[in-house]
Symmetry: C2
Subunit: 316 residues, 2 copies
């Protein structure tokens, strides 16, 4: 492991713990509602995800703080609720995507999916609950962060909510899932390269971009920094999906925790099926270079370059 | 029709039109995402609902403005996006409640339900989209409302988002649906009076209370006015549900636009099944009196009293 990778893995370990602690603290407590739904929500949230979106949000906040000669620790505190909210939204999307009426997946991250464990109605509701609690969290936390004035904090929170909602909504993540669902209907025309790209940009990319932007906004980024962050995150999101497709084809069932080759078997187009494995690898590498270039041009550093490399070089 | 009722119906007509126009304007436009989901979302939103929640939000905003000697028209402008967002959330809850895995309803407001028309996966996604767009709308609109300073506007919007998310989430509406779902499982113990009350307070009451509070917050209400508004809306929400149960038992299929007697036939407890029709009517009347008393004590007027009477005396 290179020095940079070692630095990243230590950084990740500490931030993942902070995110997990935050999720445990921010999720509704006992007595806030029926225990059945609290249990179902926690089952899916604490299922051993990578926490990629929260990590990107926190890295973005820290990088912006460093760039603006600000306080990196304060930036982390400011961005943590948004980081956790993004993980709640990502989790809700998995719970709903796994439903019998959608992808009908029975395993996720190596465990039975929510509807298998809690029933279909409860899975729908736990997804609804996760999405709603994410917005409750974005509106409520952090309550303050001295010396930031409360008006400034409110402005950042509101902008973050607008960014996250737009990314999660029908023009973003939900829209991507609609394209996926429509393409899976028997007899529907297969997606071409541009259709595949559009689907992933919405379904996966939009929320990854929103994660970087949310962290940056909470840390006080100005518009040029947000532009750079968006260019970085778009490339990371695309690379993430290309690598996901490669890993799927290569049959990394065990490490992915889900059925390998499933997309290909279902006749869904993938980057390897469209471009071949080698060309797909080249594309992922090109995404990485473009992501790093966007950071360099804006003077953004911290863990953002290492996270981009990790996304491209990961084996699960 | 009494003079007051005539005044209310004219008021409702104008406000309903403003809400419908707002919904058409605020919902994502063509090109914002896949047309299939836009169509599904619009199908459910424009299905001829009463718009009770938006009307309560607007009446609350106008009453607060009058009480504070403010500008009633500005209050309406400030509250309209929240009013529309509450209708989007109400609509999403109906779409998901109607799913086969939940209440399995095929008719709603006299038309086939979303999953019958668009398929189950699409119904899940259109509900997800409606919920998410509601928060996007709450964060974005109104962009400004002179002479209100933007910091003050941001503060009101953020407080509204927190109130609405808490009411819609697992301690509120989603939690109520969980209680309903659990009680409908074969062999589950029937809800007793307090269980029934708790379920409705969450499933229906919470969002009605949030509607009144959202309108009041956007119009600049202080905490004592918000307390009064909450007491008013709790009673209105409870009365609404009691009357719903009475209408259901009385077989008003045609005017309800859904299968009458369905709850009773499904073995679900209702106010009439627990207390009888006469006693249920007395309870609804008592709610009305309590709602009016809460308004009087706080000096709140406008259309709020007439709306409470309408909710209790309605026949559909």
């Amino acid at each position: 492991m290179s020095a940079t990778a070692a630095g990243l893995s230590g950084w990740i370990e500490v931030r993942r713990q902070a995110v997990d602690d935050g999720l445990a603290r921010f999720l509704p407590a006992e007595g806030d509602g029926p225990s059945a739904i609290r249990e179902a929500m926690r089952y899916s949230v604490f299922a051993g995800g990578k926490r990629l979106r929260p990590l990107i949000a926190l890295a973005a906040a820290e990088a912006v703080a460093a760039r603006l000669h600000g306080d990196a620790e304060a930036a982390g505190t400011l961005a943590l609720p948004a980081a956790c909210a993004l993980e709640l939204i990502h989790t809700y999307s998995l719970v709903h995507d796994d439903l019998p009426a959608m992808d009908n997946d029975t395993m996720r991250r190596g465990r039975p999916t929510a509807h298998v464990v809690f029933g279909e109605g409860m899975a729908v509701l736990s997804g609804d609950g996760l999405l709603t609690e994410a917005f409750a969290l974005l509106a409520k936390e952090p309550r303050s962060c001295a010396p930031l004035a409360s008006d400034a904090l409110n402005g950042r929170k509101l902008r973050t909510i607008a960014i996250v909602a737009a990314a999660a909504g029908m023009a973003g993540m939900v829209g991507g899932q609609v394209i996926d669902l429509k393409a899976a209907v028997r007899g529907a025309p297969a997606l071409d390269a541009s259709g595949l790209h559009d689907m992933h940009a919405r379904k996966t990319g939009a929320l990854i971009v929103a994660s970087a932007l949310a962290g940056a906004v909470m840390a006080g980024a100005d518009d040029p920094l947000l532009d750079a962050m968006e260019r970085y995150a778009r490339q990371v999101g695309l690379a993430f999906q290309i690598v996901d497709d490669i890993l799927d084809v290569e049959g990394a069932s065990a490490s992915l925790g889900k059925t390998a080759g499933k997309d290909a078997a279902a006749g869904k187009p993938t980057y390897p099926s469209l471009y071949g494995i080698e060309q797909s690898r080249h594309r992922a590498a090109a995404c990485l270079e473009a992501a790093l270039a966007a950071l360099r041009a804006a003077g953004l550093e911290g863990q953002l370059p290492a996270i981009a490399r990790w996304v491209v070089n990961r084996s699960n």
